[in-house]
C-alpha cells in the first residue's frame, strides 16, 4: 500500500513514515517522501526544527523511533559532514592523513595510501589547501579545517553527500569555493542534502528545498517552498519540547501516517521529479492528505 519497502533507485533516499528523536520525544515526525538521485536539496527550518536530526537519521547515526530510511546505496556510500564534528584537533595528525581518511572505502585498514597520494593532493588543491599537506591539523583555522573536511568528502567519492550547516563561520571566499564544489558534485549526478540557514543562499544555489519544522512544512522546488506563508507556518510549528507529551496516536509508518490533516505538509509537485515512479503512491496520498 505505501511506497513499499523495496529500496529506492540507486542514489536516492526514501523516508517511510520516518520519526526520529531522543528519549521518545520526536524531533522529526512522520516524514514521508523520496529524495531522488542527483537532487541538490536544501534542508531549511527554524532552530530545533530537526534538520540535524534528520541528517543523522539519514546516515544511520541515530536509530529511527518509527518508520525507516531506505537508501538506494550502501550505508558506507553515504558521506556525512556533521555540524559539530567530534574531531580531536589536538591529535598529532597531518592534514594529509586527515584528508586521506576519505579513502577508507578503497584502502580499508591496511592498504597503503602511498599509491593514492596524488589523489589526496588533488583533493587538497581542489579546496585551495595546496602546500598544507604536512601541517598538523591543530594549526588550521576554522575555515581551513572546513576546507580540509571537504577535501576528505571529495576523496570519499560518495553517491550521497549530507552536509550539516557546512558554512557556519566561513568567510565569503571560502563560501564561494565550497558552493562551487557542491555545484560540481551536483553536476556529477551525486545526491547532495545540506542543512542551511541562509535563505538567499538556498534560493541562489539549491534547486529544491525541504522546509522542516519537526514535520515537513513544504517540499519541492525552492521558489515554491520558500514562500512567506510557508515560512510563517514553519515558525509557528516549531513548538517547544513538552516533557509530558502524550504517546503519539498516529500509527506506525505507512498505516495511519497520513491522517494528520491538521499539520500536513504542502507538497509542491512542480517541475521537480520529486516523486519518481518508485515513490508514486506515497507522494500522491500525501498530496491528498494535505
Amino acid at each position: 500500500m505505501s511506497g513499499g519497502l523495496h529500496p529506492p533507485a540507486p542514489g536516492a533516499l526514501r523516508l517511510a513514515g520516518l520519526t526520529l528523536g531522543y528519549d521518545r520525544h520526536p524531533a522529526v515526525h512522520h516524514l514521508d517522501g523520496t529524495i531522488p538521485a542527483g537532487d541538490l536539496l536544501a534542508l531549511v527550518g527554524p532552530n530545533g526544527a530537526g534538520k540535524s536530526t534528520l541528517l543523522k537519521g539519514l546516515v544511520g547515526e541515530i536509530p529511527c523511533l518509527e518508520g525507516a530510511v531506505l537508501r538506494g546505496v550502501p550505508r558506507e556510500a553515504v558521506a556525512y559532514l556533521p555540524q559539530a564534528d567530534e574531531i580531536d584537533r589536538s591529535f598529532p595528525l597531518s592534514v594529509l592523513d586527515l584528508v586521506g581518511m576519505g579513502l577508507w572505502r578503497w584502502a580499508g585498514p591496511w592498504r597503503s595510501l602511498g599509491r593514492r597520494r596524488g589523489r589526496v593532493l588533488e583533493a587538497l588543491a581542489a579546496v585551495g589547501l595546496s602546500g598544507f599537506e604536512e601541517r598538523g591539523i591543530g594549526t588550521l583555522s576554522g575555515g581551513q579545517f572546513q576546507r580540509a573536511l571537504f577535501a576528505r568528502l571529495i576523496l570519499q567519492d560518495a553517491a550521497v553527500i549530507l552536509l550539516d550547516e557546512p558554512f557556519t563561520g566561513i568567510d565569503a571566499r571560502t563560501l564561494q569555493d565550497l558552493l562551487a564544489l557542491i555545484a560540481r558534485w551536483h553536476g556529477q549526478g551525486r545526491t547532495v542534502v545540506a542543512a542551511l540557514h541562509d535563505l538567499d543562499q538556498v534560493r541562489a544555489h539549491f534547486p529544491s528545498t525541504l522546509l522542516l519544522a519537526r514535520e515537513p512544512v513544504a517540499w519541492g522546488p525552492t521558489r515554491q517552498v520558500l514562500t512567506a506563508a510557508n515560512l510563517a507556518r514553519a515558525a509557528r510549528l516549531s513548538e517547544a519540547w513538552d516533557e509530558n507529551a502524550a504517546v503519539c496516536a498516529r500509527g506506525p509508518a505507512g498505516e495511519a501516517g497520513h491522517h494528520h490533516h491538521g499539520s500536513g505538509p504542502t507538497l509542491v509537485h512542480g517541475g521537480q521529479d520529486h516523486h519518481d515512479h518508485a515513490h508514486h503512491g506515497h507522494g500522491h496520498r500525501h498530496g491528498d492528505a494535505a
Binding site: 546516515v59 544511520g60 547515526e61 550505508r75 558506507e76 553515504v78 558521506a79 556525512y80 556533521p82 564534528d85 567530534e86 574531531i87 580531536d88 591529535f91 598529532p92 595528525l93 597531518s94 592523513d97 586527515l98 581518511m101 577508507w104 572505502r105 584502502a107 585498514p109 591496511w110 598538523g136 591539523i137 576528505r152 570519499q156
Partner: protein, 294 residues
C-alpha cells in the same frame, strides 16, 4: 678520564653479571617495547587515568588466583587477565547501553573490583603478600614469567600494527569512522584488551600499582620530544627502555626496591623533559625564538 668512563661502564654493566638481573632486564625491556606505545594511545585519547583504574581492577583477579594457588604466576596472571577484561568489557557495555560515560562506569567497576581484591587478599596471607602483589617482583622473574612478558610484548606489537589505522581514526574522528566502517567498536575493545594484557604483564614485573607507571610516564614524556604519532611511539619506547635499565642499575647499587626505582627514574625523566623538552617544555616557553615571517 678513560678510567672514569670505564668505571661508569662497569657500574652500569656490573649488576648484569647476575642471572636474576639479566632476567629482570629482559623482562623490563620486553615491557618497554609494548606498554609505552599503549600509553601513547591512552594519553592521546585522554584516557590516561583509565589505565590506573584498570590496574586496580586487575587486583581481585590476581588475589583470587593467589587464594587458590598461593604465589603462583599462572594462577595470578589468569585471574588478573579475567578480572581486567571483565571490568573493561562491562564498563564498555554500560557506556554503550546506558547514558553513563565510560570514565564514570569504569570508576564504579574498578572501585568495586579493588575493594573486593583487598578483601580477598586479607582473607588469607599477610601484609607481605599484599605488598608483593602491589609492588611486583622484578628480581624474581622465572622462565615462565619471561615467556609471558615476551609473548605479551609480541602480541601487542602485532595487534597495534593491525589496528593502527582504525585506532587512529577512532581517536581523531570516531563519528567519521562510524559512518564509513564498523571497525570502530572492535578496534576499541581490542585496544582495551591490549591495555589489560599489558597491565597484567607489568604486574608481573612491577606490581599492579607501578605497571601503570611504565605505561604512562614514557608516553607522557614523549609528548615533550616528538610531534607526530610515529615519533611519539618511538620516543616512548626509548624512554621506557632507559627507565628500565637505569632503574635496575640504581636499585642494584643503592639497594632499592627495583619496581619503584624504575618508575621513579621514568618520573625523573619526565620532570627533566617537562623543563627542557623542545616541544612545549618550560624552558622553551620562557626563551622564545623570534617568530618567522610567515
Amino acid at each position: 678520564m678513560s678510567a672514569v668512563l670505564s668505571g661508569l661502564l662497569a657500574g652500569a654493566l656490573g649488576p648484569f653479571e647476575f642471572g636474576f638481573m639479566r632476567r629482570a632486564l629482559v623482562g623490563c625491556l620486553a615491557l618497554s617495547v609494548s606498554a609505552p606505545p599503549i600509553g601513547v594511545f591512552l594519553m592521546l585519547r585522554r584516557m590516561s587515568l583509565m589505565s590506573e583504574a584498570m590496574s586496580h581492577a586487575i587486583l581481585p583477579g590476581a588475589a583470587a588466583g593467589f587464594l587458590v594457588a598461593g604465589l603462583s604466576l599462572p594462577a595470578m596472571t589468569l585471574g588478573g587477565l579475567v578480572a581486567g577484561l571483565v571490568v573493561a568489557l562491562l564498563a564498555g557495555l554500560v557506556t554503550r547501553v546506558t547514558a553513563l560515560r565510560e570514565d564514570a562506569s569504569l570508576a564504579a567497576f574498578y572501585l568495586i573490583s579493588l575493594a573486593g581484591g583487598v578483601l580477598l587478599v586479607s582473607l588469607r596471607g599477610s601484609q607481605i603478600d599484599l605488598l608483593h602483589i602491589l609492588f611486583g617482583s622484578v628480581l624474581a622473574l622465572d622462565d615462565a614469567a619471561l615467556w609471558l612478558l615476551g609473548g605479551i610484548s609480541t602480541l601487542t606489537l602485532f595487534a597495534l600494527a593491525v589496528l593502527y589505522r582504525p585506532l587512529v581514526m577512532e581517536c581523531v574522528d570516531p563519528l567519521f569512522l562510524r559512518t564509513v566502517s564498523r571497525a570502530g567498536g572492535p578496534a576499541h575493545y581490542a585496544f582495551l584488551g591490549l591495555v589489560v594484557v599489558n597491565l597484567v604483564a607489568g604486574f608481573q614485573a612491577l606490581g599492579t600499582l607501578l605497571a601503570v607507571g611504565l605505561m604512562l610516564l614514557p608516553a607522557i614524556t614523549a609528548r615533550f620530544w616528538a610531534a607526530d604519532l610515529g615519533g611519539l611511539i618511538g620516543a616512548s619506547v626509548l624512554f621506557g627502555a632507559l627507565a628500565s635499565v637505569a632503574g635496575l642499575v640504581l636499585s642494584y647499587h643503592l639497594d632499592l626496591p627495583s619496581g619503584p626505582a624504575i618508575v621513579l627514574v621514568a618520573g625523573f625523566v619526565y620532570l627533566v623533559s617537562m623543563l627542557a623538552g623542545p616541544r612545549g617544555g618550560l624552558l622553551r616557553r620562557l626563551v622564545r625564538p623570534r617568530h618567522l615571517e610567515a
